[in-house]
């Protein structure tokens, strides 16, 4: 009588191994990412005074279009790019980045101690800043600084700034 209720185990083992393989593959997901090491300066803390003007710096400025030029929410609008004070124009973003690369590469080739500075305005999407950062890395710059805003150490002032930023971005 016992033999008649015996189960065929093969499909169950098949399914179990499928599950195992699935979980092993999904766990590998995180190693596919890349990173840009951007260590902060260790010789001083938060420098709230305005930075001294140095000749070695080349600045790339990014500003979002105004609401009157592009009605979409601020971080979905197009950007204006400047190297120093000159606006860099192009039909596509790729073309603009190539022009910026040429400019900063020429500056770096002339000046081995050249430092980069990125001045990103409110609402500029992260990927545009990373693209410019990437161009600086590619041209051999070792020191790249960001033009910051003065976030107050005082938490209530920080929160006020935070709410204002989120309001500007339409994120509230």
């Amino acid at each position: 009588m016992d033999q008649e209720v015996k189960m065929d185990m093969t499909p169950m083992i098949d399914v179990t191994f499928q599950l195992l393989i699935f979980f092993i593959i999904t766990m590998k997901f995180r190693t596919l990412e890349k990173k840009l090491n951007s260590y902060l300066p260790t010789d001083f803390g938060l420098n709230t005074s305005s930075a001294p003007v140095e000749e070695n710096f080349i600045t790339v400025k990014i500003r979002q279009k105004k609401a009157s030029e592009d009605p979409r929410p601020i971080r979905e609008r197009g950007s204006y790019y400047y190297v120093e004070t000159e606006e860099i124009k192009g039909a596509t973003e790729k073309e603009i980045f190539q022009k910026i690369y040429k400019r900063i590469k020429a500056f770096r080739d002339q000046n081995k101690d050249a430092k980069g500075k990125i001045d990103a305005g409110t609402g500029v999407p992260h990927y545009r800043v990373v693209s410019v950062l990437d161009l600086f890395h590619k041209s051999g710059f070792e020191t790249i600084t960001f033009v910051g805003l003065t976030v107050n150490k005082d938490i209530s002032a920080g929160m006020k700034w935070w709410r204002k930023m989120r309001e500007t971005l339409g994120d509230m």
Partner: protein, 180 residues
């Protein structure tokens, strides 16, 4: 008579059969283990469209004490998401929990140089935290969030200087590009 003969034959065959129950028990234990472990590792990593880089180095992820901050970016002009739906808003996520400026500052204070567990032992790096921090920001999110986090990290009572920005390799499929 024939039936009795058959039964006798089968009984002798089942004597050499293996008992599968312990093996299946163990296999299911393993499945449960992987389900639980994979759930934990995914909490650190929110689903984002990372920006591209050409000079980014491979992220080994071998530093166990590394902090990971995720910044999500819903499309604000997307008409499919209703206003008032909490998914419309950008979120700073650490281990699956949302943070704002105030709570993030407190969280980093607890995990920075003030925590004796995370101080640099090298005397030339006195007053700095030995913790590294990975910022995973969606490519379409505003850079203001990253800037704010960098400024919080630079404060002398936090002093986390090993900051990394997560990027992705440029995909061959152009449709996946983070673009507006």
């Amino acid at each position: 008579m024939a039936a009795r003969k058959k039964r006798k034959h089968d009984t002798s065959a089942s004597d050499v059969e293996m008992d599968m129950t312990p093996m299946i028990d163990i296999v299911f234990q393993m499945v449960m283990f992987f389900v639980i472990v994979s759930d934990f590792s995914q909490k650190d990593i929110a689903k984002l469209t990372l920006p591209w880089s050409t000079v980014g180095v491979d992220d080994e992820g071998d530093d166990e004490s590394r902090l990971i901050i995720n910044i999500t970016a819903p499309r604000l002009s997307d008409t499919k998401v209703k206003k008032g739906d909490e998914n419309v808003y950008s979120k700073i996520m650490v281990r699956g929990k949302p943070y704002d400026f105030q709570s993030l500052q407190k969280f980093l204070e607890l995990n920075g140089v003030q925590n004796p567990k995370y101080r640099e032992t090298d005397p030339t790096k006195k007053g700095l935290s030995n913790r590294s921090l990975l910022i995973r920001c969606d490519g379409n999110q505003s850079f203001d969030y990253v800037k704010a986090i960098l400024q919080i990290c630079a404060q002398p009572d936090i002093a986390i200087y090993k900051v990394e920005i997560a990027t992705a390799e440029q995909p061959k499929d152009k449709k996946k590009a983070p673009t507006n």
